[in-house]
Assembly symmetry: C2
Homo-oligomer: 332 residues x 2
């Protein structure tokens, strides 16, 4: 029986081994990935991102528990920590989570610290998500730290992206990043029993207004943003307004409501055709990353190391510019 | 007179125009970059990174003022905001800075929000730094937000990297990222008049101990870490211990001491050969990025769009895997 057959048959050990191979980008993992690929496309990929200290891990934990117990879904968690390129920062989070989720075969948790390039990280995450998808996990939660381009890249893998904030984290509105807000499908204010929650929500609302100017009308009518009723935009397609959801993950508060928002987003994506668009965008990004990798590998095979080193040395001596070096190496 | 001649002659307008072209990656900018390249290699590149709310911009501002007034250095500032992939988050910071620094021809400030890929951002930043270097700026400060892979990439451009923290930003030590700490040449605790500064310094010190275990001895002897006296490691080369520097940028406190630490780091790099190693590493990364770009461009010229789209469609339909698609597109 091949690796992929074992995984399709529910073998957790084979799954764990393949995930390690995928994370380390071992060449042999490719065969299994290719064989598993036709079995992908069923899972709901949920991205969860936010600054350190927002309680993302607890939230993901609670959400996974909720899906397990209430909906009987099989849930995989990929915890990515791009902020720790040298040390494995995601390990502790795993241990904490284990207490609540270990022993349940319907849950699989995997953490990954950044190694090598960022492109590599997004690629490994995408591949891991595919493995879980093929292995029959209904929901794959991709958790990532911080608020940089890396999170945007990882979030682009997901169908639904949750951005987690918490009251009193920063000095002011600066802590809520404009960029990260714009990738949010759902905004979560975790630790919402803390002082300052009103300010956090107000700040998020005004940033949402900047991002979705017509929403002001929506708010002026006094409706809750939480329901995020579909609206008509100029192209007459329904439009999604990111709802703001308060939670206290450590006490399980707001989790059911959050899961409901997520379900609404899935319904919205399905109706609007957004699901297919996100799938397409994701696979396009993945294909391009693989093409880049292949091209570079072929270049490395074609150009002798000695010649590369000689030309690099000329650049370092400022005899030729990097652009001229590329011409000498490729356009020969 | 060509662009590059104008810039070498001190024409600020030509400089501003070229920087815009470089940021937008306009093909014409290449000629100027190639012509300017032999004139690079003199500037000291200083990277400044840290979470939002640490007061990085004020710190960079004060440092630039200090170098202008005390050392008569020409200073360029490149403010990169990788956290705002969609909106230009760095604009406001510029305006604030302008009050103190505008009108001084020895200072040039440029901000850049993320566009396109992260690789592109590091590349644009590197090119901008080269332009400033060739134009005769003695110091180029590259300021960037957050604590992700993007900052690591940007920091790798610099000879000296400052990581800025501030008391009371996060709930706990979580806010100080292990990864970012390891790229720090100098640690700055800005806003050090705030409560909690002792805790921040303690947290930084213990994280430094983890990163440099032998340092404990150094600390136990009660010496100030600020002077960061060179030590012998097993390879008998002197080793740099990141000093911790307290500042209150808004009041100009600690800036002279910080500048002194930076000068010590330059001396260390020069003595140890680290300067040359960092230059080499930077140019190697740059060359590889250009090679990747060139290879992808050539691929796009070689493969008709129609064929690419057909194969992508097969991937989306799960008829073939992305890896098989690459083989069909490249190995034909």
């Amino acid at each position: 029986m091949t690796y992929s057959q074992a995984i399709l048959g529910g073998d957790r050990l084979a799954l764990a081994r393949l995930l390690t191979q995928v994370e380390n980008d071992v060449p042999e993992s490719r065969t299994a990935l290719i064989e598993l690929f036709p079995h992908t496309g069923k899972a709901h990929l949920i991205g969860v991102t936010g600054a350190p200290g927002t309680g993302k891990s607890s939230l993901v934990n609670q959400l996974a528990l909720y899906y397990r117990k209430t909906k009987e879904k099989r849930v995989a968690i990929i915890a990515v920590d791009p902020s720790s390129p040298f040390t494995g920062g995601a390990v502790l989070g795993d241990r904490v989570r284990m207490r609540d989720l270990s022993g349940d075969t319907g849950v699989f948790i995997r953490s990954m610290a950044t190694r090598g390039s960022l492109g590599g990280l997004a690629q490994s995450t995408a591949n891991m998500a595919q493995v879980f998808d093929a292995a029959g996990f209904d929901i794959v939660i991709i958790e990532t730290v911080g608020a940089g381009q890396s999170e945007v890249d990882v979030a682009r893998l997901a169908h639904t992206t949750l951005v987690v904030e918490a009251p009193g984290l920063g000095d002011d509105i600066q802590a809520i990043k404009a960029g990260i807000l714009e990738i949010a499908d759902i905004l979560v204010i975790n630790k919402s029993d803390r002082p300052g929650v009103e300010n956090t929500e107000k700040a998020l609302k005004s940033m949402l207004e900047l991002a979705h100017p017509t929403e002001r009308v929506f708010q002026h009518h006094g409706q809750s943003m939480r329901t995020a009723a579909p609206r008509q935009d100029s192209s007459s397609a329904p439009m999604w307004i990111p709802p703001i959801q308060r939670t206290v993950a450590t006490e399980g508060k707001g989790i059911a409501e959050l899961a409901e928002s997520i379900a609404l987003h899935v319904a919205y994506l399905t109706q609007s055709g957004g699901w297919g668009l996100r799938e397409r965008a994701r696979l396009e990004v993945e294909l391009e990353a693989l093409i880049r990798e292949k091209l570079l590998n072929r270049f490395r095979e074609d150009v002798p190391q000695k010649r590369y080193d000689e030309i690099l040395e000329k650049v370092i001596q400022r005899n030729i510019s990097p652009w001229e070096a590329v011409r000498m190496l490729i356009d020969k």
